[in-house]
């Protein structure tokens, strides 16, 4: 599979969407490509699960799918929980060495 981000326009679209949901017209106005081209790129991004869309009144808004990010965040959160617990143990050990007159 060709990577969805192998294309600089798709990368630019995703960068803009990471600032918040946008309609296709706004994206096209900011990028040096046509509106149909932006729509095509959004379709690809949606197809690989990077972007989701929803209807907001008369407009369709596109946004980054944060589900993947949520998993990453959970992982990092657990990582820091474990790491800080280990850090605390290391600090306690230092304390023990200081308190031990025979050390």
């Amino acid at each position: 599979m060709m990577t969805a981000l192998g294309d600089p326009t798709r990368q630019a679209i995703l960068d803009r969407l990471s600032d918040g949901p946008r309609p296709v017209g706004e994206l096209a106005a900011e990028l040096p490509v046509s509106r149909p081209a932006v729509s095509q790129h959004l379709k690809v991004l949606k197809g690989v699960g990077l972007v989701i869309d929803r209807q907001a009144g008369t407009r369709r808004l596109y946004e980054v799918d944060t589900a993947g990010l949520a998993v990453l965040r959970t992982y990092l959160d657990q990582f820091w929980e474990r790491s800080l617990a280990a850090f605390e143990a290391a600090a306690r050990e230092q304390k023990g060495e200081q308190d031990d007159p025979g050390d």
């Binding site: 990577t3 995703l14 699960g49 980054v64 990010l69 820091w80 850090f87 230092q94």
Partner: protein, 157 residues
């Protein structure tokens, strides 16, 4: 800018003075960092946080190789250190990806320090989602890989 993903905030209280807590966290990182958690091809020999603003945060491996984690963006012993974490979702150093870890050391008593950690700018992983997919092959594989990582830490504990 909309924060698509919340910062991670964690704190821990350690029974040592503020300067000691700072020293163990930074100079003594090799002693507490989960040994499985590295991106090199060989086990960790030493984790180095160079003690200055602009210093490197890197790991030296037992085979002599080095892997970067990020840079020191604020060095204010014994109160505060800020480092960048530039490990992509594919577990490789990515100079273009900059997330931030700020650690504050708050003296609660002469022998007690509260250490507050914030890992922020995680929304910068947004454009990485595709690479997460590539690395782990299929949706769902990521979860099981994370579980394997988590299991490795548990086995060690």
């Amino acid at each position: 800018m909309i924060q698509a993903i919340e910062s991670i905030r964690r704190s821990v209280v350690v029974p040592v003075a503020q300067d000691k807590a700072f020293e163990v966290f930074t100079a003594g990182m090799t002693g507490w960092w989960p040994s499985e958690h590295h991106i090199g091809s060989a086990p960790i020999e030493q984790i180095v946080v160079e003690p200055r603003e602009g210093g490197r945060w890197y790991t030296r491996h037992v085979d002599g190789s080095e892997t970067s984690t990020g840079y020191v963006s604020a060095w204010e012993p014994p109160e505060r250190v800020v480092v960048t974490w530039q490990i992509g979702a594919d577990w490789k150093y990515d100079p273009r990806l900059v997330t931030t870890i700020e650690v504050r050391f708050v003296a609660e008593a002469s022998d007690r320090t509260r250490v507050e950690l914030e890992h922020r700018d995680l929304d910068r992983y947004g454009p990485e989602a595709e690479r997460m997919r590539e690395t782990f092959g299929a949706p769902g594989a990521w979860d099981s890989t994370l579980a394997a990582f988590a299991g490795a830490f548990e086995a060690e504990a």
